[in-house]
Symmetry: C2
Subunit: 195 residues, 2 copies
């Protein structure tokens, strides 16, 4: 008989999201069926459909949870840096941390988007994620008094995406280091142009 101090079993919703995160991320959204999700979560199929309504909405929730997690990790990592330049480049340091996690398998939003049908509901989640990245870079560039902050942010976003692709397809976590070096060069060039 468990005492009240022991945390109760996570709710069905939490277990479903945990199983979805594990299976969808490691094997893909299309190849993982509902049956495997509910089996791993130890949840009845009816509960899944009561809680989420459809597989597509579960995928959306999975992507939003990933988004929130990435945002927290990046923002926490950025608190360690002082100067605007360091903070801007720190995004790639945080990315490098994500690349070295043992079950890293690329950007979840990219792979989910590649698997989704055009015009699918997951596009909303991917758009939200990409807007956050873009805004993050733009804000950091503004903090650093870059003249064309939006322009630099677009360039850095390309590096960020490219690093995510290379880390997965080339199985090369050092892509983040390469991206950081390129970002530093682009930042310095953007600052000098204005100065």
């Amino acid at each position: 008989m468990p005492s009240k101090v022991i945390a109760s079993k996570p709710s069905a919703r939490e277990r479903l999201l945990a199983a979805a995160d594990d299976l969808f991320y490691s094997e893909g959204v299309q190849t993982v069926g509902i049956d495997r999700i509910v089996a791993q979560a130890g949840v009845a199929k009816a509960s899944l459909y009561n809680l989420f309504g459809s597989k597509e909405e579960l995928v959306q929730a999975y992507l939003d949870a990933r988004h929130a997690n990435t945002r927290d990790q990046v923002e926490r990592a950025l608190t360690r840096f002082r100067t605007p330049r360091e903070r801007l480049l720190g995004v790639f340091d945080a990315q490098g941390q994500l690349f070295t996690e043992p079950d890293f398998n690329g950007c979840a939003h990219m792979t989910a988007s590649a698997e989704a049908r055009h015009g699918s509901a997951v596009e909303g989640a991917t758009d939200r994620y990409r807007l956050w990245v873009r805004t993050l870079f733009t804000d950091l560039a503004r903090e650093a008094r870059v003249a064309d902050a939006e322009g630099l942010a677009r360039q850095l976003h390309l590096l960020y995406d490219g690093a995510g692709v290379s880390a997965r397809m080339d199985r090369d976590p050092s892509a983040a280091t390469t991206a950081r070096a390129a970002a530093a060069a682009l930042f310095d060039a953007a600052v000098k142009d204005a100065g």
Copy 2:
């Protein structure tokens, strides 16, 4: 009655590859079934399995054909440029051309890789493609007498990948222009460092 001058109907293999290119590229490898391929190609299912052996090998052939096509288009585009710097940046001009094609839907190798199971046979095709891009940038950087040609090539490859991602996910073909500008800055920085 067709005269001998009129080209005969393409072979079953050619029609299968054309249908695979159309359907796989626009809708994805997983969502398109064999039945739709053979229906659009006007080919018997048995012919597909006689010619290719499995769906996975058809996917590989589709990716290799895309690779060859992209290579031809890029190499042809590069003949218009003279200086090493222009030739190196010309890769992004060629990429911008691809982005504006009416049925553009991102890099086929990226989406196929995202849909494939880990360790699948399509990884061979994507590895070949990525090696070609990497080698192309390295050779162009060497032609331009860049000191750290491999290092610059890695950075440009990130921009190339990132532009492909952004063009598809942000529905923004101008990503190639952004990548070109960033590549120019990185190139100039790499040249100046050595000089």
